[in-house]
C-alpha cells in the first residue's frame, strides 16, 4: 500500500461536472471515503449523497487528506493552488490539456509545501481493497503484490487487466500522467515501490519523450532487488510528430524508445514487446 489507504479522506473539486460526478460514484463503489465535493456556485447540493461546498476552505473541518481535481483545464491552476494552500497533502489532477506553464507553477508550489501530486492528465492511483482516487475501471483490479506505474491511461487498464486475468493481483497502480511536466515521475515512484513491503514485483509502462525512464533504470540498477518488467510505447512514432500526449514528442538524441529500452535492459529489467506479454514475464 502506497501513499493512500482505506482511511484516506478524499474531496473532489469539480464533483458536479460530468466526469467528476461519474467517477466519484465509481470511487465510492470501490470503497474510497469521498467526504465532500467542491463546485463553486453549487454549494448546498449533493452528488451520490455527498455534500457539495463552495470552497476547499469550507471542507477543512472534515480534515480532508486528498483532493481529486476534475475541472476544465483553464481552471486547473486555481483549483490546485486552492487545494495546496488549504493544506491538502495529496492532489491528483485528472484533467488533460493543462497548459504546461500552469503545471510548472503547481509542481513548484507542491514541492515547496511537501504535497504529493499526481498528474495532470492521469488516471490516478488505485490501491485494491483500500482506496481508488481516479478513473481506472473498478472491475479490472485484484488485491496482490504487483505494483504498476504508467504514463498512460487506457494502456494501463489493458495491462492491469492482463495481470489480473493471468491470476496475479496489484498492490498499487499509479498513472503518472501523460504530460511533459508531471508532479510524480518514475524516479519518484520507483523509490516508493521499492520500499513498499506490500509490493513484490514492479511493472513500469513508459513512453517516448523525456528521460524519466532512463533515470528510474539507473536507480533500479543501483538499489532495487525486486523484479521489474518494463514496456515502452511509441516505438513506431514518427520523429518529431506528436502522438496526443505532449510527452510523446521525440526529443533530440534522448527520450527515444530505443534509448529507454536499452536503459531498461542494462538495468536488468525485462522489456515486453506487447502489453499482453507482460504477465508471462512476471512468472
Amino acid at each position: 500500500m502506497v501513499v493512500v489507504n482505506g482511511n484516506t479522506k478524499v474531496i473532489v473539486q469539480g464533483m458536479t461536472g460530468h466526469q467528476g460526478a461519474f467517477h466519484s460514484g465509481e470511487m465510492i463503489k470501490f470503497g474510497t471515503k469521498v467526504i465532500a465535493g467542491v463546485s463553486p456556485g453549487k454549494s448546498g447540493t449533493k452528488v451520490h449523497g455527498v455534500d457539495i461546498y463552495e470552497t476547499v476552505y469550507d471542507t477543512l473541518d472534515m480534515h480532508p487528506d486528498a483532493s481529486m481535481i476534475s475541472v476544465p483545464a483553464p481552471f486547473i491552476k486555481d483549483a490546485a493552488m486552492e487545494a495546496i494552500d488549504n493544506g491538502i497533502k495529496l492532489i491528483y489532477i485528472l484533467t488533460e490539456h493543462v497548459p504546461v506553464q500552469d503545471t510548472m507553477e503547481i509542481v513548484a508550489e507542491a514541492r515547496r509545501k511537501n504535497v504529493f501530486m499526481i498528474g495532470p492528465n492521469s488516471p490516478g492511483i488505485t490501491v485494491p481493497g483500500e482506496c481508488k482516487i481516479g478513473i481506472m475501471p473498478n472491475h479490472i483490479f485484484r488485491k496482490g503484490d504487483i505494483a504498476i506505474a504508467s504514463r498512460s491511461g487506457t494502456l494501463t487498464y489493458e495491462i492491469v487487466k492482463a495481470v489480473t486475468d493471468a491470476g496475479f493481483g496489484e498492490s498499487t497502480v499509479i498513472g503518472l500522467g501523460g504530460d511533459p511536466i508531471i508532479g510524480t515521475t518514475f524516479s519518484d515512484v520507483i523509490k516508493i515501490y521499492n520500499e513498499d513491503p506490500a509490493t513484490k514485483k514492479i511493472i513500469l509502462v513508459g513512453e517516448i519523450g523525456g528521460s524519466e525512464e532512463e533515470k528510474a533504470a539507473a536507480y533500479i540498477k543501483e538499489h532495487v532487488k525486486k523484479p521489474v518488467v518494463g514496456y515502452i510505447t511509441g516505438r513506431s512514432a514518427p520523429p518529431g510528430k506528436k502522438m496526443g500526449h505532449a510527452g510523446a514528442i521525440i526529443e533530440k538524441g534522448t527520450g527515444t524508445a530505443d534509448s529507454k529500452i536499452k536503459a531498461f535492459e542494462s538495468a536488468g529489467i525485462k522489456v515486453a514487446d506487447y502489453p499482453d506479454d507482460i504477465p508471462k514475464m512476471l512468472k
Binding site: Q19, F22, A73, P74, H97, V98, P99, V100, Q101, D102, M104, E105, V107, A108, E109, R112, I135, M136, P137, I140, S150, R151, S152, G153, T154, L155, T156, Y157, E158, K161, G178, P180, I181, V205, E207, G210, S211, E212, K215, T233, G234, R235, S236, A237, P238, K241, K242, M243, G244, H245, A246, A248, K252, G253, D273, Y274, P275, D276
Partner: protein, 368 residues
Amino acid sequence: MNLYEYMGKEIFKKYSIPVPDGYKIDRVTDLKQYEFPVAVKSQVLSGKRGKAGGIKFAKSGDELKQESEELLSSKINGLQVEALLIEKMLNIKKELYLSITLDRSSKAPIIIMSTEGGMDIESVPEDKIHKIVVDPLIGYSDYISREAAEFLELSGDLKKQFSPILSNLYNAFMGEDALLMEINPLIIDKTDNIIAGDSKVTIDDNALFRHKNLIIDDPEKTALENEASSKSFTFIEMGGHIGVIANGAGLTMATLDALTLHKLEPRNFLDLGGTDNIEIVEEAFSFVLRAKPEILFVNIFGGVTKADTVANGIVSSKKKFNIKEPIVVRLSGIHEEEGRKILMDNGIKAFSDMNSAISELAKMKGVE
C-alpha cells in the same frame, strides 16, 4: 505548434527583441522595392534550411524577383515553400546561440546559450554551452542577464543591449506560453548591434485559449490533420494502409507499435479520447476514411468509453459512409460482450484481445 520564422519574429518584435527589417510574401507580386542587398528566406519548418538551398541573396530587384520565383516553386527538405521572408542583409561580425525551453527534469524554464551560434546546437561541444534554470515561482532576475552576458563574453555596450534581449525573451516565453523560443544565430553585426537572425518558436497547444490571436492552422499538419484538430481529435497521417481508431494516446501508440512489429503499416494515428457518444465515433470514421486506408482497425478498451456505444457507432458509420473496406474490431472493458454481439450481428469481425485482432489483420494483408 511550431511557428514559421516570420511568425516567431512577429512575437520577438512584440517583446522588443530586435529583428532585421523585412517582410513576408506569399507570391512574387507582393514584392516591394527595398534596400538592397536582401536575404530571401524560404519559410519552411525544417532545420538546415540554408544548406538545402532555402536561403538566397539578391542585390537588385531583378535578382530578387528571380530568386523568389525559384524558391516559391521549389521544395526544401521535402517541404513545399509557401512563403518567403525578405530581409535586409546583415553584416555579421559574430554569431551566438540563445534559447529558452522547458526542462522536464527540473520542471522549469531553462536558458541555453553558446558563443558558437549559427550552427546546429547539438554539434556544439558541452563546454561551449551554458545553461541556467529559472525558478518559475521567482521568475526572471537581472543577475541571469549578467551571468549569461559573461559567458557570452559580452561587455560594455553589447552587455547593455543583451540584458533586455534575454529578459524580453523570457517574458515572451512565459507571456506566449511557449515550449521553445530559440534564436540561432543571435547576430552581432559590424556596427555592434545585436539582432535576432532567425526564430524557432513552439507554442503550447494547450494554452491557445489564452492566445486567441494565435489560433491558426498548424503549419506542420496536413489539411486533414488541422481539420481534425479543430474537432478536438488528435489525428496524424502516416504512410501505411491500416486505418486506426483507438482510445487513449498510450493505447493508440501501443496499437501502432504492435501493428509495426507485425509488419503492418498504419495509415494514421487517431485517438478517440474518452467519449460515450455515437456521433463522435462517426466523426472519427469520417476522418480516417478520407485518408483512404485499405483496412480499418478499431481498438477499444472501454472505461469512460462504453464498448457497446462504440459498436453502435461502427455499425452506423458503416451505413452512413457506405464503407466497403474491411473492418476489424477489438473491444474490451465495460460492456464488451454487448458490443461484440452488436458487431457480429452486423457482420463485423470483433475480438476481445489485441493479439487475435492483429493476427487477423496480418492474415488479411498476407504478412503472416
